[in-house]
């Protein structure tokens, strides 16, 4: 692979990665959000794969494959299962539609998109010392990872559906993984394995808690979580 092709493909993958985060912010249907999240996982795996091919490291290619399986396959599958469970058993009361949509985000969609633009600019400003330390095609794309981290945080605090909040958490995590790859070709394998395992378990825990929340509250609207306060 020639150098210019590598740079173009890397930029393309990073662009797709950021675009997927923005699309997640834009859509309201949880099913569409989950699909977009899977596509973002593909883009993340592509970033890792390109870096592995460029540096000629077989272990990075293997890690890329693992990331693809986890983030484009397993996590979206778990989310889809949680979503079907949420919409299926409530159909008799005709609230299934409400469960499948992020009906009333705290910040409306237009303002969210503007916020995403502002957060991306912020990420580029914050990342300047990081790029200056070692300017290369990969580190120049590093602010994209930070931008996705910030957008993930934004989704986490402005969405009201439990599942949308989980997506925010996973976006945050995708952003950090992308940052790790672009900055230093990924963290050591043992740490990467531990982190992936933790994320998978956290996802399972959150899925189970969503089910319990539905049993206890009858909905997954996080606005109902207001019994504990001072």
């Amino acid at each position: 692979m020639s150098d210019s092709a590598y740079v173009q493909l890397l930029d393309l993958a990073c662009g797709a990665f950021l675009l997927a985060a923005v699309v997640i912010l834009w859509r309201r249907e949880l099913a569409a959000i989950v699909r977009t999240f899977a596509l973002q996982g593909v883009a993340l795996a592509a970033i890792a794969l390109l870096l592995g091919l460029h540096e000629g490291r077989a272990d990075l290619v293997a890690v890329a494959a693992g990331i693809g399986v986890l983030r484009a396959g397993v996590l979206p599958y778990l989310m889809r299962r949680a979503l079907t469970a949420a919409t299926a058993d409530r159909r008799p009361y005709d609230t299934g539609g409400a469960e499948g949509r992020e009906t009333r985000p705290v910040v409306n969609v237009a303002a969210s998109l503007l916020a995403a633009a502002a957060l991306t600019l912020l990420a580029y400003a914050v990342a300047r010392p990081l790029v200056e330390l070692d300017p290369s095609p990969a580190t120049r794309a590093l602010p994209v990872g930070l931008a996705v981290v910030l957008i993930g945080f934004f989704v986490l605090v402005t969405r009201r559906r439990a599942l949308a909040q989980v997506v925010g958490f996973l976006l945050l995590d995708n952003g950090i993984t992308a940052t790790a790859f672009l900055a230093a070709s990924g963290v050591p394998l043992i740490v990467e394995l531990g982190v992936s395992f933790d994320v998978l378990l956290a996802m399972l825990v959150l899925q189970l808690l969503t089910a319990r929340m539905r049993a206890a509250f009858g909905t997954t609207d996080l606005d109902d979580l207001r019994e504990l306060h001072d």
């Binding site: 995590d173 982190v195 959150l206 319990r212 001072d230």
Partner: protein, 532 residues
Amino acid sequence: MQATMTAAVLAAPVAVPGAVAGAHALVLARLRRRIPRVLPRPAAVLVGAAGPEPDQAAEPAPTPEPPPAPGAPWWGLASPAVVLGCGALLAAALPRGGALDAFGGLLRADAPTVWMLFVVGAVALVACASLPSYGAGERLSARATAMLHTLVQAFLAAMCLAVVTANLGVLWVAVEATTIVTAFLVGHRRTRRSVEAAWKYVVICSAGIALAFLGTVLVYYAARQAGIDEADALDWPTLVARAGALDPSVTRLGVSLVILGFGAKAGLVPLHAWLPDAHSQAPAPVSALMSGVLLSVAFLAVLRYDTIADAALGHGWTRLLLTGIALLTLALATGLLLAQRDYKRMLAYSSMEHMSLIALGTAIGTPLALAAVLLHIAGHGLAKSVAFCASGHVLHLTGTTLIGRVRGLLARLPWLGGVLGLAVLALLGFPPFSLFASELGIVRAGFAAGAGMGWATAGALLLVLAAFAALAARTARMVLGPSPVPAPATVQGGAGAVWPLVLGLVACAALGLATGPLTDLLHDAAAAIGGH
């Protein structure tokens, strides 16, 4: 110590609780098979959804199950004993100012590690010894008991891994694992409140600690650029030794994120919101472990990164950041303590108060301050675990967590009133308990560290006094006065409920009178985390 011996002693604090957790999980699996779940959960919960739920919500529909096996206690005590024993072996074998490592530097024991192993072991001993009487008070089914033991032991294994690892990436993995394992302990009652607490706990802690991972990645990037090879770039001793070569601006960004992230897990502002909810909903012995050691194990991560940042950037940056966070946390905790009506939440806010004192001591950073910080971690762990376990017995006795509805504990059940009263006195910093010595140490070091830190310490002291008044007044109402109902005929839980708590108080008082054989260890530990 021989290499294989070292490896065994370093791995045992993680492996033994892990194995005990596995054994309990096998019991759990067998129970599952014997009693198949007939129905998921009845829809009846929706009926109760509208009204406020009672404080002491019942377990979900009791299935005909055999009563819990009475043999559980000593199983549970095996792993705290192993943790304490390994701590003692390591303390004996540790060269002054040196460290022992195994598995290619993945596991490593230095003086702070050994100190924390002692603290984790002692607090776990109190908490695990209280588990059987807690289970009896809650009338837990065999399955719920097995679940509780499995998760508590796994929790213990994850905390020990965080303490004995030298790899900052593995440290992160272990701290995040504690979140995952304890989520079900927080939500074990499956009521609206506990589900809410568990959700907040997982989301806030995971998101907060994700920030810490981003910080870890940035430090790793700085280390790689400084020419440290991949295998050593997250190794703590290597990073401390070569901190001078790290790029300052990248390290500053990384360490700030790490302090915010692990600060979330340690109950520090701005990501503290999970703490009072989780501590008030978890089973009492689990609250004891979370408050007594989980917060300080997370804070150990902050201490590790603080050492790197001091060497790379000078002490100014982390001092500013930690002082700010400590004062904000202290102000918030004091404000909420003054208005508190629930005694478990009161103890949770008191934990935030003590963690902010620990953060302030770290910001001061002199050898005296850091030794006081480590002593404070130990004293707070012991006193708070006793207070939380006692609060569990109060809940079983009175059926309420509201301070206003608990009266005359001392007249009603003298041992319980006495233990709770003494534990709160210890938390207030009365001699002979060790929190007196450590708070005095932090304050003295603060006033000696220059005008800026002097003012911060003075402000902290005022806030601590206000918190002191709030805690003292509320506990006095609960403990003193005539008993509103006749004393119960039998002591709930029996002697098994009493001795762990008394032991914890005695240890806390002994540590306050003299550190004895631990003195050298304490000073070595303070020096290793950068007393300068």
